[in-house]
């Protein structure tokens, strides 16, 4: 009885549905025939954005999301993806909470929950490695500014348009030659995995670059006083100092160098050293300090333009990772345009065939993007930067330099 009634109502339901659909369909067809294409709203293209907007990396993660939104707006304002009928990009942001487990589940959730054409993320290499694994398995292309060389190993859907970690050490060594023809370099590093691996990379590459390392010293992170350590650096007679340190120790090191009156060029490397927050914490002490980055806001006219918009909106300059992310969004737009499809597999193939040397997609050191078989941009290299008047100026290499190095 119950079943029977259910069936009749179901049938009635179906009939109503059929009527609506045919009538509606007829209407739509006539409408479309009357106004071809123009009024048909193209389905938006979903792009997944995985960034830590809570937890220890929240500040930088939020900056990335801001930049990603700005980039999507720029693409959409310029008419969206024309080969898809002017389809708009639709950014689906997910918070990976600075946590590897959350990153795994969030990447999975995004891929299964939405029809994603591509993903970008996650700023921190440790998180990106996880997201990349999940994306590889799901066969969804992932594009990232993270620098870990591991992202280029056995991967087919992961694309890295900017300089790799292994290139940073080399750039840092070459930069020391701006200070002196035969540079004597002191390397001090915190005795953690991060400090040890980075400094070993520097030591291995030094002979090939003709740089002499006169001091190579691990220290315990989180010290109360940098005096004894700088005393040692002074005794070593170095003219350039590479400090692989987190912010707290770095502040003490910079202060102590000033107190001692030591004339030495300090290079703090990448990461937390080249973001606006560093200057906020350290203030004028940062003036003259050098670092390396995979992107800087003065690299091209396009970059300057985006930087101006970002600065107006968020009150600080467009930092390394966020700026690179704007370029990445335009690389995705370029690939989507050529793929004329939102199918992740086709988007991947279009990314692999990408070759741009102008416009927003190509803004960055090297000025050209073309991926090798390992997903690495063959034209990418890091840029040497220096804090000058509260801003980060590109000073190295010659082709990318926008200001001369100020000797400290």
């Amino acid at each position: 009885m119950k079943n029977g009634r259910g069936r009749t109502s179901q049938q009635r339901q179906r009939r109503r549905e059929f009527l609506i659909k045919t009538a509606g369909g007829a209407l739509v067809t006539t409408a479309l025939a009357a106004f071809p294409l123009r009024l048909r709203a193209a389905e938006p293209v979903n792009i997944g954005a995985l960034y830590p907007v809570t937890g220890s990396m929240a500040q930088i993660g939020q900056g990335c999301v801001n930049a990603a939104k700005l980039a999507v707006q720029m693409v959409n304002d310029a008419g969206g993806i024309k080969s898809l009928g002017g389809a708009k990009l639709n950014l689906i942001v997910s918070d990976v909470q600075s946590d590897t487990t959350v990153t795994r589940t969030e990447t999975d959730r995004l891929i299964n929950g939405y029809k994603l054409a591509a993903i970008h993320g996650c700023f921190a290499s440790a998180l990106t490695l996880i997201a990349s694994e999940v994306a590889e398995r799901a066969k969804v292309p992932l594009i990232t500014g993270s620098s870990s060389d591991q992202l280029n190993k056995d991967r087919h859907y992961t694309f890295t348009p900017f300089a790799r970690a292994s290139q940073f050490a080399q750039a840092q060594l070459q930069m020391s030659k701006l200070v002196s023809d035969k540079p004597k370099v002191a390397v001090i590093f915190e005795n953690t995995a991060f400090g040890t691996s980075t400094s070993n990379g520097l030591r291995e590459k030094a002979p090939a670059e003709g740089v002499e390392i006169v001091m190579f010293e691990p220290y315990s992170a989180g010290f109360a006083d940098a005096g004894p350590l700088i005393n040692k650096v002074k005794a070593s007679g170095a003219d350039a100092l590479f400090s692989v340190s987190y912010l707290n120790d770095l502040i003490l090191i910079v202060r102590t160098i000033k107190q001692v009156g030591l004339k030495i060029a300090l290079n703090g490397g990448s990461g937390g050293f080249v973001i606006p927050d560093f200057y906020k914490s350290v203030g004028t002490l940062a003036e003259g300090l050098q670092g390396v980055a995979h992107w800087n806001h003065d690299c091209s006219a396009e970059a300057e333009k985006v930087n101006a918009v970002y600065k107006k909106q968020y009150g600080e300059f467009l930092f390394e990772y966020a700026g690179g992310l704007v370029a990445q969004t335009f690389m995705l737009a370029d690939a989507l345009e050529r793929a004329a499809s939102t199918d992740p597999e086709k988007v991947r193939d279009a990314l692999a065939a990408l070759d741009v040397s102008s416009g927003y997609a190509a803004m960055g050191p090297g000025g050209r993007v073309k991926f090798g078989p390992d997903g690495k941009n063959i034209y990418a290299h890091p840029v040497g930067v220096q804090w000058q008047n509260g801003d980060l100026a590109s000073v190295f290499p010659k082709d990318d330099a926008r200001a001369p190095l100020v000797k400290t």
């Binding site: 005795n191 220290y219 109360a224 005393n231 203030g283």
Partner: protein, 289 residues
């Protein structure tokens, strides 16, 4: 070589002065109230933030803000003793340890919530300057901190030996029951002791601010050294803690200079182990003064 050695000793003494302020606070609470305050570092951190905000919001020099941070922390100390420590004094060690340990975690996380994990610095005219004596340099900010730390330690010594309250404090430290029979209000004495101890931590925070960045975890750097100094200088002994702190500063500095930059603490802990092996009650002997 000699200049490097002398410089290492100077560096060590200067930072030892800060260790002393923290360790004297810990040893004072332990000597009088018989409780180990694991949250002492967090009170240093609070002192730093008081000075930081006074400096950035109102342009008050961190050294002048001692006049705010010390009284504020004294009052926090009195309240801490009256409302929290007093309740656990009759109990076993465990509740006492958990109380101050929980307080440490609470304050650290509260600071993370309120002030974020960012490092905050204050730039003063003397932050980056130094006096030059021949081949030696003496950073001005650290010198001022050292001199004021020694002055505060001396003032505490006078307070403990020349005032009625100080004498009552030492009496309560030796035998609280007898002190009580002699008409000493031990709770009041304990309140003052904890207050003074926290005021010293606050002073350390303010003195650090011109040359050390404030962060929620900043206190942890100093509290570890303070605990070693307290044990090394005999538990509860103020003079012992002072001397031990200076010794540790110098040992750490010499260790970094001549052994390796990651060996500063190794030298310090070696010193602690040797002392415990040969003089188990600390350098000052058995007496808790």
């Amino acid at each position: 070589m000699l200049a490097t050695l002398a410089q290492a000793v100077v560096n060590g003494l200067l930072i030892g002065g800060i260790y002393a302020l923290v360790s004297i606070g810990v040893t004072l609470i332990f000597g009088v109230v018989k409780i180990v305050n694991f949250a002492q570092g967090e009170f240093v951190m609070i002192g730093m933030y008081i000075s930081f905000f006074l400096a950035t919001r109102y342009g008050i020099d961190p050294l002048l803000s001692l006049a705010v941070s010390m009284p504020v922390l004294f009052l926090i100390g009195v309240a801490l003793q009256h409302f929290l420590i007093r309740r656990v004094l009759g109990l076993s060690d465990m509740p006492q340890i958990f109380l101050t340990f929980a307080l440490s975690l609470l304050l650290m996380n509260l600071a993370l919530l309120l002030f974020t994990a960012n490092y905050r610095t204050v730039q003063t005219p003397y932050s980056d300057s130094a006096l030059y004596l021949g081949p030696l340099y003496i950073p001005v900010a650290k010198l001022i901190a050292f001199v004021l730390a020694m002055a505060l330690s001396a003032a505490l010594w006078v307070f403990l030996h020349a005032t009625d309250m100080g004498k009552a404090m030492r009496a309560a430290a030796q035998k609280p029951e007898v002190a009580m029979l002699m008409g000493i209000n031990t709770n009041r004495v304990f309140c003052v002791a904890v207050g003074v101890s926290l005021a010293l931590a606050g002073a350390a925070g303010s003195l650090l601010m011109p040359f050390y960045p404030a962060s929620p975890m900043a206190g942890q750097v100093f509290v570890l050294m303070a605990f070693v100094a307290v044990v090394l200088g005999t538990l509860g002994n103020v003079k012992g803690a002072l001397v031990a702190s200076l010794m540790m500063g110098v040992a750490e500095s010499l260790g970094i200079q001549f052994v390796g930059a990651d060996s500063g603490l190794i030298v310090v802990f070696l010193m602690l182990l040797l002392t415990l092996a040969f003089r188990p009650s600390g350098l000052a002997g058995g007496a808790a003064r």
